[in-house]
Symmetry: C2
Subunit: 234 residues, 2 copies
DNA sequence: GCAAAAGTGTTTTCAATACACCCATGG
DNA sequence: CCATGGGTGTATTGAAAACACTTTTGC
């Protein structure tokens, strides 16, 4: 505990009308692109931390929920379509911002690459970029710490069959999916056993199409079955 | 989205100096007592919601983190020793409180029954009571909804071997542990298979003592092994 | 024809499941 | 002695793990 006030003193200070602290939202939007896990960051245009990269987000207004706020951020600031969002963790360290006390509630958002390519719009007012989660650039505020926590949270969640289905809505190859598992769990999986698991247990079905135009033998394309139970597959 | 302001209007309103919203903490302290899962609630002494039961918590001061704050609540308001705490979810519905906007960050706390009995102190300034999670009394504010979410969160977490070890530090019987699983997962488990799993996989060890004084054959007492890997056991 | 990447089948191991009888205590 | 609740062993099933060669394409 960093505070040495008694309970009575604290009660008094909480009656203080100068209640100078704000709430902000921050979102880590994740996607998977060519077997790489990527997160969307935004470049700060003004001081403090001008030129540094930060998580998109916004100060919370008194007339909206955190979820409404972050949905607006996704739409207005990032120009992205509605996506799957989960609340993650609320950070309240005292020195997060320089001037004032700001508490941050964080989210992860998931968007599949196909939807992304279709809906992506270039905006000249904000500079946003996808970064491989293993190559995060120089970040402002405490966003480095927060990004790491969001990545950890994302890694835990992606093992879940329902989350995978969001990120791979259709027409993916099994080697592609396998590479994601191998990255996240930091293991290597036998190709035959991996296929057996996903196909025999009924999680994925063959679409009949193949993935041509790459080197080597074309891979079959799969999609997740319509009705799969939510489960951690590894 | 419940807000129809444009981005520009929202930016303006967030510059407004009358930033009238507060943050509070709320904690659901859980324990297991004679095979029943219980949560600690506090009776409200003043209006609004006088006489109703609520989760312990406190308005966040500007000079403390959420975690410091909730640690103080546990110590000062509840008179309980330091316990394992996890942050859970932040609730930001607009109508949570009647007079002003208050956002709540919630926590779960875990305390084992042995520690609890040793350290429990009767306080006359607050009325606190343990309730079976299947018999929650009439609650104030939106705490009913929050309590349900905390119970769900707790149920998901308790399946984890490390969490169980916190709640059962030593000298528990296997039938006792089994009953918890059966309640939470709402299934019935074969006694022999349950024992086999926990003993053969090395999660628990026989202490050599037995649990005398109850009806029927005395049950052997077990404790979790010193070095168990974190895993969902069911 | 060769390099690159994907597809395939069998055996072994180990945990999960199903199932019925005996044992220790209190009253 | 009987009611209550706890302890024990075996056989079956099914998924996980280990393992090497063949197939399809681009160049």
């Amino acid at each position: 505990m960093s505070v040495l006030l008694t309970q009575k003193e604290k009660n008094m200070s909480s009656i203080n009308t100068d209640y100078n602290q704000k709430l902000e939202t921050l979102i880590g939007v994740f996607t998977i692109d060519k077997g790489k896990i990527k997160i969307l960051l935004m470049r700060k245009k003004k001081d403090p931390y001008k030129g540094y990269w930060i998580l998109p987000g916004e100060i919370l207004n008194t007339n909206e929920t955190l979820e409404d706020n972050i949905t607006d951020v996704v739409c207005d600031k990032l120009g992205l379509p509605t996506m799957y969002i989960e609340q993650c963790y609320t950070f309240s360290n005292l020195n997060r911002h320089l001037e004032e006390r700001v508490v941050a509630t964080t989210f992860i958002g998931l968007i599949d690459n196909i939807t992304l390519v279709l809906k992506k719009q270039d905006r000249d007012d904000v500079e946003i970029e996808w970064f491989d989660i293993n190559a995060i650039p120089k970040t402002g505020y405490d966003h480095d710490k927060i990004i790491n926590k969001l990545i950890e949270y994302f890694k835990k969640r992606i093992i879940n069959s329902n989350i995978l289905k969001i990120l791979f809505p259709s027409d993916f190859t099994l080697p592609e999916l396998q590479k994601i598992y191998e990255q996240i769990l930091n293991i290597s999986i036998d190709r035959r056993n991996f296929r057996k698991k996903l196909i025999n247990l009924g999680y994925v079905v063959d679409t009949g199409d193949v993935n041509e135009g790459y080197m080597g033998r074309p891979a079959k394309l799969y999609r997740f079955s319509d009705d799969i139970q939510e489960r951690n597959l590894f």
